[in-house]
């Protein structure tokens, strides 16, 4: 397959995965699932970066490496947050979290 064509397909795939992630964030109320959707969006972006890396050089992959590291850190902190919130509210339903206002 032609490299440009392959890249186009991969980019469309990455856009679709990203959109699925966005849709999941919007339709789910379970905070953990929403969080997983965010991970999916990150992965979609990683796919784009790898694709561009194939066209333009190795730096894209380096950035993916950093994204994965940051995602790991984010997952640790985020899950700890969810844990703390769950202790307080006894639920992970986003609709229950209404304190984000004055």
């Amino acid at each position: 397959m032609n490299a440009g064509y392959l890249a186009d397909l991969a980019l469309v795939l990455s856009a679709v995965l990203f959109a699925i992630g966005v849709g999941g964030v919007l339709v789910r109320r379970n905070a953990i699932i929403v969080f997983m959707c965010v991970e999916l969006m990150l992965n979609a972006v990683n796919l784009s970066l790898v694709t561009f890396s194939r066209l333009h050089g190795i730096d894209g992959q380096i950035i993916v490496f950093f994204v994965i590291s940051v995602a790991a850190a984010e997952a640790a902190v985020g899950l700890a947050l969810i844990l703390a919130i769950f202790r307080h509210y006894e639920t992970v339903d986003l609709e229950a979290f209404r304190r984000l206002r004055w």
């Binding site: 397959m1 679709v16 953990i32 699932i33 190795i58």
Partner: protein
């Protein structure tokens, strides 16, 4: 063969992602997401990112998703939170946003084709010379060394933060 694998992995990724979103059981959602990550890992191999593919499997599918599973089980979310999927207007809105996003990205990525795009991968000579791991490792420990070290600090901070946040407070 490569083309077939590409389409296979793509289909698996998209389908399992959709299932992940639509599945009411969180444990099943996690497992679907793992499938998506594996598919993406396969795609990374096809796209000449062998090292990233390995990291994807080890870190994402191995570590992060296990963490998710642990939390879900810890909170005993099993089927208690079943049916947290929004319905009606929310789904319509979410779908619209998703479609609009795809349209926007497609427009951004595809319409203006760069004539300089090569026929084959631009990475081929590099990979041939250094191998998949060394090609990534070499810039990582030279040009990106500062960022690399800062990332390690970030991970440390995240660990400490997670411990502090998740610690059980005195009642």
């Amino acid at each position: 063969m490569t083309d077939f694998l590409f389409f296979l992995f793509s289909a698996m990724a998209v389908l399992s992602a959709i299932f992940m979103v639509m599945q009411s059981n969180p444990v099943a959602s996690v497992l679907y997401l793992v499938v998506t990550f594996f598919s993406l890992s396969g795609l990374f191999v096809i796209l000449d990112a062998h090292f990233i593919a390995a990291v994807q499997v080890i870190v994402y599918a191995g570590a992060i998703m296990v963490l998710f599973l642990f939390v879900i089980m810890l909170l005993n979310l099993g089927s208690a939170e079943v049916g947290d999927l929004r319905r009606g207007l929310s789904q319509l809105l979410a779908g619209s946003v998703a479609v609009a996003l795809v349209a926007v990205f497609a427009r951004l990525f595809l319409v203006e084709t760069d004539p300089a795009v090569p026929e084959a991968s631009a990475l081929d000579p590099l990979l041939e010379a250094q191998g998949a791991v060394a090609a990534v490792a070499e810039p990582l420990f030279t040009r990106y060394l500062v960022a690399f070290e800062v990332t390690s600090v970030l991970l440390l901070v995240a660990v400490v933060g997670a411990v502090v946040l998740a610690r059980r407070r005195a009642p």
